[in-house]
Symmetry: C2
């Protein structure tokens, strides 16, 4: 009978995890490459289901006969019994499922054979009682406690302290009681027929695939498209037969540092479950050379053979029975980002893998771990965890609590380290955020104001920490249990996990190793997509360049106006009632803008710099709190009433869809004229000072929906630019283009491209308008939406490829139909998210732009997309 569902190790034509499960595939592969694996067979995932497929039982019987032949033992035989382990194993490891039943095949008859063969009745009875307990618990779902209670009662009865103190006779009493428990719970005697034992165990594994824990685990880990679990049945080997036996786990490299060395730990005279139980402390592998010298040599061979075969760091389990080493499992080892980078690089150098393979081995998202300071894990455990919010911006930060931007600024200047705690942040808070060590907000999501600004600043930030009830007026935080925190309390933020701790947790600096640089170079060799940074301060720009950006994809010009004294001429401009008064105020702002632009252009020498004209509605520059309004009235020599009236008049029902971006430019062209003038004066002055400077300026028009807007704004930019350049007698290469952030702009891309020299997709706002979600308000329902599977991922984090993606595709097709080779990029938050970066590569964007700290992530993601799409042309030709 040809194998259809059940295969002896190494006999399946493939070693596919999908079919054999991770465990079965590893055992099959190790068998094929000659490593010592106890004999056994695997029932494939294709047999997994509520009903056993036709012929499965017959096939299992057949394989058992073959296994008996290989082992020389007989299943259920009184003299020379074959004992097996039964393990589940899907293509990915899944803790929610049934795990392992050991010693299957023991019954009142075969126990005799085991006793005689091992000449150790105590060992045999101990194995038997373990089997009944495991089978009862794991296969029949009898609560483990109930077995433990019986064991505890009998130990008490005979005043035995440890399990191992029980005698063979006492263990027989345990076995009797366990059987009685089993019968009470299942209404059937413990099965003596070994084939029944096996069938029950296999069915239990199959049905565990669909138990709620397993379903939940697959859901939260985003595991899809698997057929089911496989079942592996394997001859038992025993690590607990004496001092020449043992059990352990190994890693072919150090999973924490990546160093190439035999890594792992073992126990002498123990079974795998003893390691898990944690009663004895395992020894490091090198010590085995002394403890179990014959097995150590075999183990060193295993390290070599596994890496040679898998060309990947392996995490494996082994058992040594009377000096002979057996392999029980191998799989790709989990590792830290540091280790991943080092291993990938060194494996290329060792000739094991190609550069492409190396890049495919590193999770782009994990790279952020390499860039930020981090909490010392061990120290976290010593502190009280106050709450968990969203890991909005990575890193670590600690300090005393402050409850307003003003307080944060004042106390920072007084020398304190501050954590700014806010209900949510607003543009007024930017300076306060900037001086603080980190930010925590009670409201807002991953793309709230606080999150976006903090990521831009590379500053640790936790948002949506709902458990913090922040009372700004009384400078107090109340926790659900009633605890109060005030402004003398120190907290520590873990921006990587979203955890907030009470007190000072130790922080370690980022360790950027040499291997990281090498990997990033390889990424650059391979990727097609450009990677730029969103940067609007010289500090950001320098950071971005350090991380290898290829230009600035978005320099927002409005944040510059919030800093310090600059807000005053801005407000003067807003209250101006004539073009002349507005221009006078603008003239005061010009030097500030110019200064910023000049610094950024200088830092980005040789690379393009995309500067976006004023984006937010003007009311964002007005104070909303009364005391600030009073201050404004004083500074501006107007009444508080007038300030309030102004704030009221400028109030907008939906500022996201309000009087902003190029709408300001169409109505008050003088604002944008000043900005363009500042850009080109900065460039011309820099060129005059440094004749070798190599600049390319891109002027970007935001919030645009109509071809005519583009035409008007383009005319304005060109006019102003040419005027400045003529006055300086200097030519700066420049282009004028559009931020694509409204559906109408995408729909009209063919028309807009007549006047626009580049498109840059502002996918944050494009997501807001296309989906009709306000980024600031969506937190109220987005969690439920993910739970109810409306969206698979938060569309503000992972680009909504089927919705928003259609608009991007359409824009590319239409835009490039009008203007071939139209330069197209993305500058939303998605520009640093790997799956979105891959989308950008595939559709044919020229570049992505992201916050400086995501630049390495985007570079790697871009390279991986190029590798995965090898040879495939972009959907819309570049």
């Amino acid at each position: 009978m040809a194998a259809r569902y059940v295969f002896l190790f190494g006999t399946h034509p493939t070693s596919s995890k999908d079919i054999l499960g991770g465990k079965g595939a590893g055992l099959a592969q190790m068998t094929k490459i000659g490593l010592p694996v106890p004999h056994g067979f695997t029932i494939t995932t294709e047999a997994c289901g509520e009903q056993w497929p036709e012929g499965l039982e017959a096939e299992i019987s057949q394989r058992l006969v073959e296994l008996e032949a290989q082992t020389g033992k007989k299943f259920g035989d009184a003299a020379n019994p074959l004992l097996v382990s039964v393990r589940s194993g899907a293509a990915v490891s899944m803790p929610g499922m049934m795990d392992t039943v050991l010693n299957l095949g023991l019954n009142d008859t075969t126990i005799e054979g085991l006793k005689q063969k091992t000449n150790n009745p105590r060992f045999a009875y101990d194995s038997y009682r373990r089997f009944i307990c495991m089978f009862g618990n794991v296969v029949m779902n009898i609560q483990h406690d109930k077995f433990e209670h019986i064991l505890a009662d009998i130990k008490r009865k005979y005043t035995r302290h440890f399990d191992c103190d029980l005698t063979a006779e006492e263990l027989q009493e345990v076995i009797r009681e366990f059987k009685a428990l089993y019968e009470r719970e299942t209404k059937a005697p413990f099965p003596m027929a070994v084939m029944d034992q096996l069938k029950h165990a296999v069915s239990a594994v199959f049905s565990s695939w669909n138990n709620p824990r397993a379903i939940y685990y697959r859901k939260i880990n985003d595991i899809r498209g698997l057929k089911g679990t496989a079942v592996t049945v394997q001859e038992m080997v025993f690590g607990n037969t004496g001092p020449r036996s043992g059990t352990g786990v190994g890693f072919t490299r150090n999973p924490s540092t990546g160093e190439k060395m035999p890594y792992g730990e073992y126990l002498v005279n123990a079974q795998g479950e003893d390691v898990v139980a944690g009663i004895r402390t395992p020894n490091p592998i090198p010590q085995m050379e002394r403890d179990l010298p014959e097995a150590f040599g075999q183990l060193m061979n295993v390290y070599r053979v596994l890496e040679e075969h898998y060309k990947e760091m392996q995490d494996f389990e082994f058992t040594i029975e009377d000096g002979k080493l057996y392999m029980l499992q191998t799989r790709t080892g989990k590792r830290t980002a540091h280790a991943a980078v080092r291993i990938a690089k060194e494996m290329v150098e060792e000739g094991l893998i190609t550069k492409e393979e190396a890049l495919m081995r590193i999770d782009p998202n994990s790279l952020t771990q390499l860039l930020f300071p981090q909490l010392v894990e061990a120290d976290k455990k010593t502190k009280r965890l106050l709450c968990k919010g969203l890991p909005a911006s990575p890193g670590a930060a600690r300090g005393k609590l402050a409850f307003s931007a003003e307080e944060a600024i004042a106390r920072t200047h007084a020398g304190e380290k501050i954590i700014l705690a806010r209900e949510e942040t607003c543009p007024d808070d930017i300076e306060g955020m900037n001086v603080s060590q980190g930010i925590v907000t009670a409201r807002g999501g991953m793309t709230s104001h606080a999150a976006v600004v903090a990521r831009g600043m590379g500053k640790c930030c936790i948002t949506g920490a709902h458990d913090l009830h922040i009372d700004v007026a009384n400078k107090r935080i109340t926790l659900p249990d009633g605890t109060h925190l005030g402004n003398t309390d120190i907290v520590t933020l873990d921006g990587g996990s979203g955890e907030v701790f009470l007190g000072e947790v130790a922080i370690q600096d980022a360790r950027v190793e040499g291997a990281f640089a090498t990997i990033m170079e390889w990424a650059n060799e391979i990727k097609r997509l450009g990677v730029r940074a969103n940067a609007e301060t010289p500090r950001d720009a320098r950071k971005a360049r350090e991380f290898g950006c290829e230009g600035v994809g978005l320099a927002r010009t409005e944040h510059m106006f919030f800093q310090g004294e600059r807000i005053w001429p801005m407000r003067e401009m807003i209250i101006a009632e004539t073009v002349e008064a507005r221009e006078a105020a603008l003239a005061k702002l010009l030097p500030y803008q110019k200064e910023d632009f000049k610094a950024i252009l200088d830092i980005m020498d040789g690379l393009p710099v995309n500067i976006r004209l004023l984006d937010p509605p003007l009311h964002e520059f007005l104070p909303t709190e009364e005391k600030d309004q009073i201050q404004m009235a004083e500074v501006m020599h107007i009444t508080v009433e007038q300030v309030k009236q102004l704030v009221d008049n400028m109030h907008e029902a939906n500022p996201m869809l309000g009087f902003r971006g190029c709408r300001l430019g169409v109505v008050y062209p003088e604002i944008n004229r000043m900005q363009v003038k500042a850009i080109f004066e900065a460039a011309c002055e820099l060129k005059a000072e440094k004749p070798a400077a190599n600049m390319h300026v891109e002027v970007m028009i935001p919030v645009l929906a109509h071809e005519v807007e583009m035409k008007l704004m383009r005319e304005l930019c060109v006019e102003e630019a040419e005027k400045v350049m003529a006055a300086h007698n200097i030519k700066i290469p420049y282009t004028v283009g559009v931020m694509m952030e409204l559906p109408r702009a995408c729909l009209m891309a063919d028309h807009i491209a007549k006047h626009a020299e580049f498109f840059s997709f502002g996918t944050n706002d494009l997501t807001q308008t296309t989906l009709g979600y306000s980024r600031d308000d969506a937190a109220k329902f987005i969690k439920k939406y993910l739970e109810r599977n409306v969206y698979e991922k938060d569309p503000f984090q992972v680009l909504d490829q089927e919705g928003v993606g259609q608009l991007i595709r359409m824009s590319l097709q239409r835009g490039r139909a009008t203007r071939p080779h139209l330069k197209c990029g993305i500058c939303g938050e998605h520009g640093g998210e790997p799956s979105s970066v891959a989308f950008c590569h595939n559709v044919g964007l020229n570049y992505v732009s992201c916050s400086p700290f995501r630049v390495p992530v985007a570079r790697l993601a871009a390279a991986r997309a190029a590798i995965q799409g090898k040879g495939k042309a972009p959907e819309v030709a570049l």
Copy 2:
């Protein structure tokens, strides 16, 4: 030489207005059909431009020769001079352009001939001085005042009271002075060469086409695509040669009522300009039978021939010279909406035109004039006009000012008639709006909250009356001139013009004549598009049915919750913290909803009723003003602090893009469950009470962006509906569909149509999200946008066909690809706007839905679209 640019009347192969201008075409046509027209020729629009085309001058000379032959007179001849008028005339009448020069051809020589021929030197000199003045003013742009001053000086010198008192000698002095003035102003003597006079006059007409006034006129009247103006040169006839002469204007029907009767007025012994000058009062036409009996007979023939030929009401000018009637102009007559409807209907009955032609003769927008009470025009002039806002909702209203909804309610209950004056309105104001006679707001546009709600209520409303500074706290309005109005002042609103008057202006009731009903029936026979109404109260529903709606296209369910006591269980629902508490509050709301639904379903018996589930974010139901918050705290037995906290917590940055519509349903399904239950209980109870009732319920899901939302909401609706119907053992036909108002829904229409049985385009919100414009905030820039030609029309009033229209097309194509015959409609404000209705017809929607008062407009617009697209299949098959 063949005519190319210059044609004697009736010799051009066509009578095209585009080529001959309106005036030239009318004269040509009247010549062809044998009416008495003084001879002349027309220079076509094709000759209009900065330079005269090659050969034009020669052609004019040639035509003059022919004209001389026809008239037996000679141009410039001393004995028998030909005098002509020169008039401009584009395809549409355009007041900005040069109008008329009379008596051209007079000079110091030909004046002698005129003297001798008329034997009336005074008449001749009077004609000459008029010519010099007209030529100087109209052709050479010399200020008219300057001529008037000379005339006044000479009258004073000779103590003459009227112009006509001047003697021939005195007129000669006027002529001398006029010539001197001419020479001073133009630095050239008055031209004696008659050909020069003609050339100057023709050039002046051509260049007046592009003077700023003409350009402005074309712009504000949306006149496009014309080549230029034509010039008509015609032999002079004189109505001022004696008591057998005269001049007048006629209409073939009464332009005010539409009655078929000789209508018009005339003056004996006068020229056209005397009628315009307004010195003498003209007589009504019937009186002419007595005054000028021989001409009266000729005139009656003209009435008959004009209508027989044009099959349209004509507005014409005539002159009678010594008993002989001459036609100087004819054109289609302007008329009121009342007249338009009556004329169209009666002309069909008279066999003059077809029903289709009749419908094409009526401007759909004008029909709203027939539905609302109106101010008596004459009485408006007697009152002070306070300011002008936007005509947001038509009709007329008057009453005393009230400054809050509460005040309006209280004072209405006390028996006063109230005009509600607000900065802008919010949903809290609805009851106050409902009880008021009319509403005026200082802010907001044509689609602001006040405008939309008032139109829905059929209530007179003026928005954006910026001149009103409303001080709610002090219950006072201040006008720019400092005038104060308080709550004892009466104002009158004209919703048709946006004018606000001080005091009581007389109001007349709507006059819906029988012809209107006939026209509407014909529209129904011809149109393909269904016309439904947006109606959510029994009052609206009745009104809509009265106006001939074919169902309800949108019944909003949230307004029902604002009325009176209903707000309290709604608020109870909002503050509920458990599903149970929420359900308990919802149970209190259910009877209210049911009651409303039952009434509407009853009124709409036999027609479909589309009910939209809860749309706005819940915070709209919470009070924002402190005193209301205090009241809420009292009623709900919570602290004011808690109310404020709640309001704060629920505050949204951009409510338009917030937690609303089906998002509420996904997170709190119990709300929508209650609504669906109420709908089907209403329907089942009605059916039980009236077994003949014929209902079709459409349940509409709002603010939907994703297929899964549709799936979840559909399941909810079906489950609840089936449960209720099973309990009542009654089947009500129903469908579940989607409000298409987000770009993502349109992009994913093929997927959404799997679960949706109809699409209804909510073009207000779809415009907001596609263009990125908040309806409430766009007023700040939209005016400038129209000025700068970004949009031709306000996209909230006239559908943005090229942007939003693409999404509608795409939805239809994709939706019907998944589900053929998918029923598709539109329920935004655009559903009652004629050009948008035509778009809906052309792309293949099944119906439009609009406010009750726009139903007749939409019906006519739909019929016109069907006529214009005769035989053309819809772009997407129905």
